[in-house]
Symmetry: C2
Subunit: 114 residues, 2 copies
């Protein structure tokens, strides 16, 4: 079991993970792709507010890190699909823990502590 209390050196695993998850958009891309292969247009619709440029940039970064496979079908117009790799899928426990944490935040917002 990782001791999250061990001092956070530059190469600390939490910093490593945070540099990949870096911000809301990448987290939501992971969340969508955990539901299975998605087309670019599906991702753009599912992640409200993300710009086409940001989505393309983040998908490119995840592909370069070996987290996402990109498949282009030579249809007219061409169809592009994104699938999590095995390494990419290993983010699932983080997203599940974030979902739990998010529910607690929402419950606290509904009935604040005394």
């Amino acid at each position: 079991m990782i001791d999250p209390n061990a001092a956070c050196e530059p190469e600390c695993p939490v910093a490593e993970a945070a540099s990949v998850l870096d911000g809301k958009w990448t987290t939501l891309i992971f969340r969508e792709l955990l539901g299975g292969t998605k087309r670019y247009s599906q991702l753009q619709r599912a992640i409200g507010g993300i710009s086409p440029r940001m989505l393309a940039m983040r998908l490119g970064d995840l592909e370069a890190r070996g987290m996402v496979d990109k498949t282009i079908y030579p249809t007219v117009p061409p169809k592009t699909e994104y699938t999590l790799t095995t390494l990419g899928r290993s983010v699932e426990p983080v997203i599940a823990a974030m979902a739990q944490f998010g529910v607690q935040l929402q419950q606290r917002a509904i009935n604040p502590a005394p």
Copy 2:
């Protein structure tokens, strides 16, 4: 158990959690405070590369969200300490999952898949 595959509506818990964790710095502040109460100077030393302004801003945001308690001691110079609230501590499973994910990333970097 939360279904991370359910479509991600704007109020989806993962988006909620991602808006709190938003980026590397807040994640690392949580990581440090999970180890117990820390002074501002201790946080600044432990989180390499964070600017004083960014640290103050993120701590202020976490305090406003009810995740961190700030205690100022009237010493000369005054001493300021930060402690996670119960709500703040509920992030622990996310940080622990990120630590595991980070280890997998680092292991993959050492011996890439064939």
